[in-house]
Symmetry: C3
Subunit: 429 residues, 3 copies
């Protein structure tokens, strides 16, 4: 089982201070490449125009703290990288508590927790702290010190292309821009490298696989600005992977119209894997599915999560730590996505090769004595239903939906029926 | 607010004895034209063939009563014009109670009320009275006197055409043939003239407006027999307005298949305006939607009511008096229909002009600090959803349905996005 | 009423030992032909290849028993033809109880009943008995004697073709291969011959009727292998009739996609005839609909039952005897199928011949006084709805569904409206 290995990788990624650019991202890729050397890195210079956006200056941080008049550090980057507002400009000044106020970010409804807050596109500096910490601040002067740089540099992203028999692609995306939070988002990259290795090891791949690790929003937009044309021609289904390490539930965010092959595949798998899974409409989008499903982009992509971002209380706080995630949580995500990939790989239009029911008994596929109590083994019943519905007009996903059997249970039976030439793959336009 | 003005107009119309032809209709139009001089009147001669029907003789009434042997007037036209059976032929005779019986119309289930009863297409005479009144009649002779004329003349209807930028039309219809009943139907004409004035005052009209005031059934058929060809080419949506002055609920009668643009528009507006609105299928049709949606006519028309005809107890009785209607009731109808018109005027296929999400923050359309607690203002969220769904493939009504925001709240945001060129109007075939 | 006559015929068929081939089938046809001389018989030789199957050797039985050491007959074919495993090869040998074990068939969950068991396609012999009988067997030797023949011969089926005005066909199928069980399946053939006579007696038939009596599975496959091409061109709707003699409920097994004309017709009739009818998906198929709806065969056929096979406790046991069925049960099935046929015969696309509502009053079709309390007779309301919906775009079944009136109540009204030329039959492609 890969759950333990994914958890261990997430643990290793956890301490790094990542942002949408900078060396935290590069250190993250160094670790990922130890597990998945085939990741190819790209550096896109600051100032590059990407659709309606511009690649920002590169941000790096060495440290930072807020100190009182006695020099006590109220909050310090060393304690938690969440304490510094993401993309803070450097500062080194003394202010009164009143002046400091607008630079402090808290969560009044979760007074124990440090919020994760950023200001990528307007220059600010600030400290994030728990409401309790803030409440203890007494009038007086404070020393705000933030040692960051915001300079021309580049945005870093990673890509793995795993070729298959055809140029048609299955697309997986996750992001590598969040600092020390576990489910959101050390989990996505940890899952992704394990998926990459599983896909590489498949004995046969019909499809080519495109796996990307990008900073959220600006990274997805940057990636699309360089790859959209080819992706629109090739991608048949895609999954945005985020918050995939906890074990509370399973969730998906549907595509805009909820009708892509990715929607159908994930519904099909989840309804058998975890029938109580949660479906969120595109109105609840929030991660990079926002770009992949933007009007005109229209890639057939859904978002897959265990507990969906925005929906679990620890989201975007210091409580999204390593106790949020588990080997079991990872394993569940891994199982779902590998089942989706298997379903897509075998999602052909199958057709029985004879008219009327084939005589399954003479092939040993069903019993030869007929009696009311001869309850068919489930597999025999499944075989009867496959040949009873495989008319070349529905794909395997729809066949699975109609006969209410998971695709992963159908695949071995389909292979057997192809072998004895009772099934063939139909042309389909 | 126009509610008071509409109520005052209905009050003025109330006393007049109208029928499907005759001077009551003409007096009604005199009053309406004071408020809406642009109404153009048409007179269609008796005997004119209109599809399967013939314009009937013109009916006029000077008075009538039923008197007992002592000369006491049991019922008298002076007291209520409902007392005389609509389209009664003249009579002046003495009959026994037994002979009189077949000429008396009552409502046994509502014994206090005078029914509204007519016999347009078979010559009869009769009196309508409360069951209580009838129960008091003693054996003896009675004098039936009805002073009417039924002669060649004409059927009168009114029409307002308000031109717009295109020849495509929005159609509104109401009727002017009911005697002294308030909701059904002094309310429809009172609303209609106020709508006409609102439409005239619009700074811009994409559509041309066709508003008609006709006697029910025969008038709608007559109108269609003279205008159907052009209406089939031009009308994109229409609303039959009846029983629009009370304030108990909101109702619609769907088109035959429930799928016209008029259905979609009225559903969209009512689901936000009054979520508990009542939807009646075309099986419950009863007003002029019967003609507009007849097979082969097939105009995209629905019927709008507050309390639907046939469904409120005062319907077609003397209790449908001025206490049934109110300024508030009228205002609600006015608001709904003007919202429908606004929705239709702006019902384009909008499309975002950039790939991926536009950077709304740099345009001041959403906040530039991102934190879990930064709850977006509703308008910012609506803007994100507009640009997240505006793919040029759905019209504004469907966009509104998908993002669950009323069209009238979307229109100002759409205008702003058109201004900053983040949206454009897509071609749509 | 035909219920009694159908019951009497089923009673006459009941004692015969039928199987998928042999003289029991031929004796059954002798009886059926007394009621329906137009049945034409076909004999298909053993060894004939029919799609994936081969017509088996012909099986005949003279008798058989299982005796203990004292010569007492434990079970005997004379007592019930269910005692001998269907298609048993001959045997005459003495065995120990232990050796006998694998040749005994019982129903442990219904210990009083003899199961109906067969082994058509693998040579076996065996006895079927109640679990109670088996439990009484003491250790010792037993004499197994089965006097059957399994030799080259033929498979027998019957067909009735009743010509109509067009070559388009309505198809009815039932089976004649079950030994002494009443509902499954003396009922189907008994119903079928009465339907044949009713169809023959129709004053007018638009459609040609194809009625077949076949052994289940192999017979349906054999029939299709000889007739599929013409049936695919001609059959517009078909019904497989089985278990049609009890009176517990009404059931249907839908076609694969549930959308054929046969599905629509049977739903339409049953929803009015017996609103609590049961609908089973094609996943619950089990009778010859398995062949008629097999992928590539795709005939528009559903299965009709009272209590569905597999779903009533007496199914495939000795308890499916004459007490299971009744004249009332048969009558219900007869009424449903004749209603379906009538619905199909009149299932045209009707269109009103005038624009706007026709003036029904002048034709005496609705009252000429209009008042709130003038409740229309149901027929008048139905007529208004027919002309309000008959747009030439929906067939009579959909019209019936939309206006919620059974087709059999609509047909006389449709005829009247055709007579007065307010309706016509529209061309429809």
């Amino acid at each position: 089982m890969q759950g333990e290995s994914m958890y261990a990788l997430a643990e290793e990624l956890f301490p790094i201070c990542r942002s949408i650019t900078g060396n935290g991202v590069r250190r993250t890729f160094e670790i990922l490449k130890k597990n998945c050397p085939q990741i190819r890195l790209y550096e896109i210079p600051s100032g590059t125009q990407v659709y309606d956006w511009t690649v920002p200056k590169e941000w790096n941080i060495r440290g930072g703290y807020l100190a009182d008049e006695q020099g006590n550090h109220i909050v310090d980057f060393e304690d938690s990288n969440l304490h510094i507002l993401g993309y803070s400009v450097p500062t080194d000044q003394t202010l009164s508590l009143e002046e400091l106020e607008e630079h402090l970010y808290t969560l009044p409804k979760q007074p124990e927790l440090i919020p994760y807050t950023t200001s990528y596109y307007r220059e600010r500096w600030g400290f994030c702290m728990s409401q309790k910490q803030k409440d203890k601040l007494k009038p007086g002067n404070y020393h705000a010190f933030i040692d960051t740089t915001l300079e021309d540099g580049s945005l870093t992203y990673g890509e793995v292309i795993i070729p298959g028999e055809t140029e048609e692609e299955i697309f997986l995306s996750t992001y590598i821009c969040h600092p020390s939070m576990a489910n959101n988002e050390c989990s996505g990259p940890a899952l992704m490298v394990h998926l990459a290795n599983w896909i590489e090891a498949l004995p046969r791949r019909k499809y080519t696989y495109r796996l990307i690790f990008v900073p959220e929003t600006i990274g997805a937009i940057t990636y699309l600005s360089r790859n959209l044309d080819v992706m629109k021609q090739r991608v048949i289904a895609g999954f945005n992977l985020t918050c995939v390490g906890d074990d509370r539930t399973y969730s998906m965010v549907s595509s805009r119209y909820g009708d892509t092959l990715a929607d159908r595949t994930l519904h099909n798998v989840l309804q058998h894997h975890y029938p109580d899974y949660k479906v969120y409409s595109f109105l609840k989008r929030g991660s990079d599915e926002r770009q992949y499903q933007a009007p005109g982009v229209d890639l057939p992509v859904v978002c897959f999560c265990r507990s969906k971002y925005h929906e679990y209380p620890e989201y975007h706080t210091s409580a999204d730590n390593l106790s949020m995630i588990s080997a079991e949580g990872f394993q569940g995500s891994y199982d779902v996505i590998t089942k989706c990939i298997e379903a897509l790989e075998y999602n052909e239009y199958y057709q029985v090769t004879c008219l009327c029911e084939p005589q399954l008994g003479k092939r040993g596929l069903i019993p030869t004595v007929s009696s009311k109590d001869t309850s068919l083994e489930k597999k025999a019943q499944d075989i009867k239903n496959i040949v009873g519905y495989a008319d070349g007009k529905i794909d395997l996903l729809e066949l699975s939906d109609m006969i209410k059997v998971p695709v992963n249970e159908l695949v071995p039976l389909i292979k057997k029926l192809l072998d004895v030439k009772l099934l063939r793959i139909a042309e389909h336009s």
